[in-house]
Amino acid sequence: MTGRNDFRPSRRGVLGFALAGAVTAGLGVRAAQAARVATKARIIIIGAGAGGTALANRLVQRLDGAQITLIDPRAQHLYQPGLSLVAAGLKPADYVVSKTTDWLPSGVTLIAEAAAAIDPVAKTVSTEKGQKLDYDFLIVAPGLVLDHGAIQGFSLDMVGKDGIGALYAGPDYAAKTWQAASKFTEEGGVGLFTRPATEMKCAGAPLKHTFLLDDIASRGGAKGKYEMHYTCPQTALFSVPIVAEKVRMLFGERGVATYYGHTLKSIDPGRKTAQFETAAPDPATGEMVKSTTEMPYDYLHVIPPQHAPEVIRQSGLSWADKWTDQGWVECDMKTLRHLRYPEIFALGDVAGVPKGKTAASVKWQVPVIEDHLIASLQGREGTEVYDGYTSCPLITRVGRAMLVEFDYHNNLVPSFPGVIAPLEELWISWLMKEVALKATYNAMLRGRA
């Protein structure tokens, strides 16, 4: 016989335990979807990026008989939140690349051409090869244009050489950015970081790149022989004041010198200098005084001005009195519906709303557009509201980040209040950025999150 301390399971007990486990695991499976809406509506989505793809997947799940067409010439789908990691040597370039068609559901048509013109009155979209398509609803989600040409003396073929980086330009350029950046983190010198005066994708990315390179340099060959200079045209480091203050303190701790009111205008790669237009208040009168200044660099990170694609600006969809130099789509900031053409919605980077040029924003915008579009098909009013939700896992070094989430009102809206503090540098927030974010993004693309 066995001793008194021995644990003696019975077959029935073990089987019962296993069954209980299986039932618990099954709890996560969602109940059947709501009934699908029958419609013959012709829905055109311009752009098969994060927004267009996610919305197409959700509409296919919700609608029965709709004719959904995506227009996008890009064969590659880019997971853009990963570019910061590629440009810091933490992930390879192909980490962010997949095929556009990998994410599209059956039952939608992809036209692999650029949209050339939109006629919001006749409700037609023309493609570059001359196809003309009618629509009942149009979602404009073409993303934005990086205007590298606006920086004089700079061109993309310089990226990766002579200390020049530009991680926004795509996966290959992000990898080349790391070539230049890694040299800086080994040899040291002056690191010069910029951001544009226009609205931009993920305003946290310029900060992340600065934090990451500072961290890597402080542990690499450049330790003790490098300087970090961060420039921005704005008067704060981040649009949300409480976050801006936190970043200001972190920059102070890390010894990153900050230059407000500095807009990058041109570079001289031969002399390794960058020219800025500066704006500072006159001490006597308080008026803003413009001037120019030149700063030397050994590593320069360029983020160009950004604006809406030409097809949007030419079609009369842009705001007439706001962002006139950038052309973002005129839409209601809560429903994303065009203010003059109710059958048009703006989604993602191109939307003319005060916040929200991130994939996390898209995740929250998509269900709102879906709701209002389907409500229109049913002849009722939609109820969902987008309140400016934007999330930024703001990396503060390799291994730590702050999970910053906020809305139109500059309020912090943490997903895990009391557990993950938004303004604390945490390992768990880094884990989310490095490992959980892409999975969540992919689930969003498939319309599952």
Partner: protein
């Protein structure tokens, strides 16, 4: 994050380790667990001698699990920034410890099946 479903959690783990490695690890974990139940049911008893060895392996399992997660995520102990990080770290360590205990116990039982009266 708006909602956290079972599917999202699975997708997240696939992302962390890569799909192949993740499902290989799941398969291994399931196999070891099944083997563990198999030896429990077969022997109708837990051998405390084997369990002692299993317990001795726990600290090693805990440390290995932590090192594994840190290697996979380019991070280290210096990145622990707040209470929630300590909880996550301990959670990883506990999983590693329990996993290694089950593994060691099962291996011993499979290699040296106990005979009635010799295992106490």
């Amino acid at each position: 994050m708006k909602e956290l479903t079972f599917g999202t959690v699975i997708a997240v783990f696939e992302e962390i380790f890569g799909r192949g490695l993740f499902w290989t690890m799941v398969a291994l974990a399931v196999l070891v667990t099944l083997a563990y139940f198999y030896v429990l049911i077969r022997d109708r008893a837990m051998s405390m001698r084997k369990f002692l060895w299993a317990q001795l392996s726990m600290p090693f399992g805990a440390v290995l699990a932590v090192i594994f997660v840190q290697q996979m995520t380019h991070s280290g102990l210096r990145d622990i920034g707040g209470p929630v990080d300590v909880i996550v770290l301990l959670g990883v360590a506990v999983l590693g410890a329990v996993g290694s205990a089950i593994l060691i116990y099962t291996i011993q039982s499979l290699l040296r099946p106990s005979r009635s009266g010799q295992n106490s």
